[in-house]
Amino acid sequence: MFRDIYYNVVDFVQDFGAFILFSLRLIMYSPKALVKRFGLVAAQVHNAGALSLVIIMVCGFFVGAVLGLQGFSNLQRFNAEDSTGAVAALSLVKELGPVITALLFAGRAGTALASEIGLMKATDQLSAMEMMAVNPIRRVVVPRFLGGVISMPLLAAVFSCVGILGAHIIGVGLLGIDEGSFWQQMQQAVTEKDVEEGIVKSIVFGVAASLLAVWEGYSAIPTAEGVGRATTRTVVLTAITVLIFDFMITATYL
């Protein structure tokens, strides 16, 4: 039994070390890739970002609509239903925008990244690049990582905007909150610091989600089962990581 524990610990330390080295190489290669491989990065922004827009906008709208409904019914008890806009905007900008976007991003773009890189490995495409003296981390991994890092904050911003629109349609259009106080209360309540918190979170979550996705794909066991497992791990690990980071960033901004 102690032997098993020993081997598990050794495996974990080895994997973690490999992950750290991999991350350092990504960071080292990223600036050059932005200049030299801009076309590839732009294509990945399209893959991870533009192709996620529909799901982000639909989910953002309904999350905002629910915030409109819940905000109105709860705040009405205190005769404060005019603050629905402020509550919805604060929740979206600081919390729900970055967090739900990151979770949706992991499900839509993260899984695509992990399975694509894993399958490239399983079909010898990464080895073929190595043999053609092309570093697969520079050619395949870095552009995908950067595509995710750039897309995530933009998607989170879109999510929050569409969410506020959803809350507005429900609150003002359906439940009859005064339009003037909806926007005015929101403008008064949401400070620059709140927006900054949302931006910081979406950048951190973007780096975490993209890094985990490309790492899981790159380190996947090159079989059908291995790639499947890497895809699942991407979603699970991203969800856990994002929620832990969310707690830590929220605590520092209090």
């Binding site: 079909t123 080895s127 073929a128 190595e130 043999m131 053609m132 003296a133």
Partner: protein, 271 residues
Amino acid sequence: MGSSSDTIIEIRDLHYSRAHRPIFKGLNVDIRRGEVTAIMGPSGTGKTTLLRLITRQLVPDHGHIYIDGVDISQLDQEELYALRRRFGMLFQNGALLTDISVFENVAFPLREHTNLSNRLIRHVVLTKLHAVGLRGAADMMPQELSGGMARRVALARAMVMDPDILIYDEPFVGLDPISMGVIVRLVRRMNDALGISSILVSHDVQEISTVSDCSYLISDGKVAAKGSPQELSNTTSDLVKQFMYGMADGPVAFHFDAPDYAEQLLGRDTE
């Protein structure tokens, strides 16, 4: 280690094991310049592993591999990539990049390593695709190709940088007779016309005898036999005969190590 000028790759006392199972136990192989050298052996003898060791995708536990007299284990990343530019490798499944077209696959090494104009790249790529008979498939995506076509595209890609050494990993597996004939002739023609050295891993004895100058038969981690196709087919060695003529009985056991058959069927081995 000095190298004679007619030997391009020397493998000396190579040991390699995977998951505590020894694959090579002191392998010595010479690949001669300008020839087609075949590496043969039963399944699981580590033929593909040997190719990966030669190209340093894997590192040996012990022993040396010299290419043009240079020990490849001493090379840093830059030097290794410079060396790999002299190689063209055809993978078992083609290993084409699935997100770009056939044309872009063949153009890939040129775009990565040269500053050639688009016009010139187009010219070179179409020439290479024409050589493998697939100029008409230039705009297709890899997933639209059959297995044989994919391998021919991969061959065009392997030779686009005009390599010194071409490596083929099981080039004949799963090909129809026409594609097989085309590939066999291409291997020979490219070797002779371009003056390159070819290493061919396969267990298709028939095809190898028509194309290779020298063959190595690897078994149990060592070279079991070496010679021209003629010499190997006239051999007296039981192992070589078993392999060359595809016999079930001989030094190479058909069955993997297992407990006694009757005992196992009767379930006594679990008691």
